[in-house]
Amino acid sequence: MHISTTSWHRYMALPAFALFSLFFLLPLIQGAGLSLTHWDGFSTPEFAGLDNFREFFRDERALGDVKTTVLFALGSAPLLNLAGLSLALLLNRSFSGRNTTRALLYMPAVISPMIMGSIWYLLLQPRRGLLALLFEQSGITLEGNWMLSGPSALTVLVLVNVWQYAGMTMIIYLAGLQSIPAELYEASAVEGATGVQTFRYIVIPELLPALKINVITNIIGSLSVFDVIIALTGGGPGYDTESLSIYIMRMCYGNKTGYSTAVALMLFVIILIPVIISLRFFDSMEDAA
């Protein structure tokens, strides 16, 4: 069939590409260029070769932030998936109040993590926080101060993040669970499979797409964590809970703009490695299924 109408639908992707080029690709390329310079953000950038990257590997604050960022992700991503899947299994049955429960669990995820972090700050402050006050009223004085030690502050941050986004992860698992045809469960019941066997051989393979999207988004999200840390600890005590993305902002404002773009490229690599590994893993799982 030959159609002799205007064919500019062929180029309908170009406006989107133009916007994307100017506000995403161009800065990305510029950033790669700037990472090779000493630049304070005002004067002319000075070519510096790989100086910034050498500095990065000697910069104890930056390396500490890498550790913080990775530990945050190692805590957050698995816990989020575990909590989300458990909640989805709990809610994958019909009972009265199911929709209300689902809405309640999902509600924290629609709120800005900056505002949610600020709310937890009011509740969790040692001694002055509302929870501490309420405990005091009932005669329990909470000893210790989670904000004074890096590990305990980081643990609190992970828990707050999991509390906020478990409902989001749950919704996606729930959709995956409900797309499993009832016949599959029936068939496995007929074959006399145990609950564990049904879960292993029916539920997990069918949940792969949901698992994939949750794992990938949780890896990217937790490695680029920003708002909740600013709201809750500001990166403290010291720099103990400072994430790499916060460090990038602070270096940019601290007249080390060139260096901050190099740190951003390092963060890019740190995100890309686990994402590619898990994409490969899921591809091989899908081939096997």
């Binding site: 205007t6 992707a13 916007l19 506000f23 800005s112 006050l133 999207i213 990938i216």
Partner: protein
């Protein structure tokens, strides 16, 4: 009907469907997780409505309903202004995003040219790059373009950041719509663009709802870009206004709680009103992925 199916049917008739009731321990779990989700919000309300008399020590688990905190926080935090700003930037960003992403998705789904495949591949790769990576070079670019403290710069940046995932959603959705619909319109004398606008676009309701909800929420709650690009009081959005209010009034807890409460009300109200669309939107987004 073979023997296997018959036994299966017989079993299903005999065994009552076990999923209509919850065991008592499942009910207990539902109660515990619901409380875990709800209690922080209740505590926030307690704080936000706390009467100044007696100080925070006198807080009880029944709210005071002292409304003056809310009005005072509203006036001092300039949240009204922030609400208008956030609405303008989110609406602008979503409009631009839906227009560009639907056109691009259509072209990519229907025309397999080298240009379109290149654009799509680039977008897919960039889907894995969080915005923070190129924020610093973007900041220097926007200084040169006089884009700091403007609505248009935030609109363009947020739309560009949301483009990869949205184009991906549109493209996979349109691939599932039969071509024959458009072809018959073209036979009747429509141009390709008319066929897109009159036939295909109206069918895109579900995927558009998904894009509007997922990306609109991200734009509404944006902090990581806003903190760079919106620096004056006249342009700040809700997360920025709340965070700056916390820095300013860091001693008055009921006032801080009131500001946080006002800040989360718009998103939560939208969620409660359009709950069904939220769940469907997230689900559609996840399943296509």
């Amino acid at each position: 009907m073979n023997e296997h199916q018959m036994t299966s049917d017989a079993r299903m008739n005999r065994v009552p469907h076990g999923s209509d009731t919850l065991h008592w321990y499942s009910r207990l779990m539902v109660l515990i997780v619901s409380l875990t989700a709800a209690v922080p919000f209740y505590l926030l309300i307690l704080l936000a409505f706390k009467h100044p008399e007696g100080g925070l020590q006198s807080i009880s688990i029944i709210p005071d309903f002292h409304l003056a905190n809310l009005t005072e926080a509203w006036v001092k935090s300039d949240l009204g202004r922030a609400l208008v700003n956030t609405t303008i930037m989110t609406a602008g960003g979503i409009l631009l995003l839906v227009l560009l992403a639907s056109m691009a998705g259509y072209s990519i789904a229907r025309v397999r040219s080298r240009l379109n495949r290149t654009i799509f591949a680039l977008l897919l790769i960039c889907m894995m790059i969080p915005g923070i990576i190129n924020t610093v070079p973007l900041y220097t670019l926007l200084i040169r373009l006089r884009g700091i403290n403007t609505y248009w710069s935030m609109i363009c940046v947020m739309a560009a950041n949301a483009l990869p995932f949205s184009v991906f959603l549109y493209a996979s959705f349109i691939r599932a719509i039969p071509r024959s619909l458009e072809e018959s319109a073209i036979m009747d004398g429509c141009s390709f663009f008319e066929a897109f606008w009159k036939i295909t676009f109206p069918l895109m309701g579900p995927v558009t709802a998904s894009v509007v909800i997922l990306q609109g929420l991200g734009m509404w709650n944006n902090y990581a870009q806003a903190v760079f690009f919106l620096q004056d009081r006249a342009h700040r959005n809700i997360p920025l206004a709340v965070s700056l209010f916390f820095q300013q009034y860091g001693a008055n807890w009921p006032l801080m709680a009131a500001a946080a409460l006002i800040g989360l009300v718009p998103a939560v109200t939208m969620f409660l009103l359009f709950q069904r669309y939220f769940v469907e939107g997230i689900t559609a987004g996840a399943i296509k992925g």
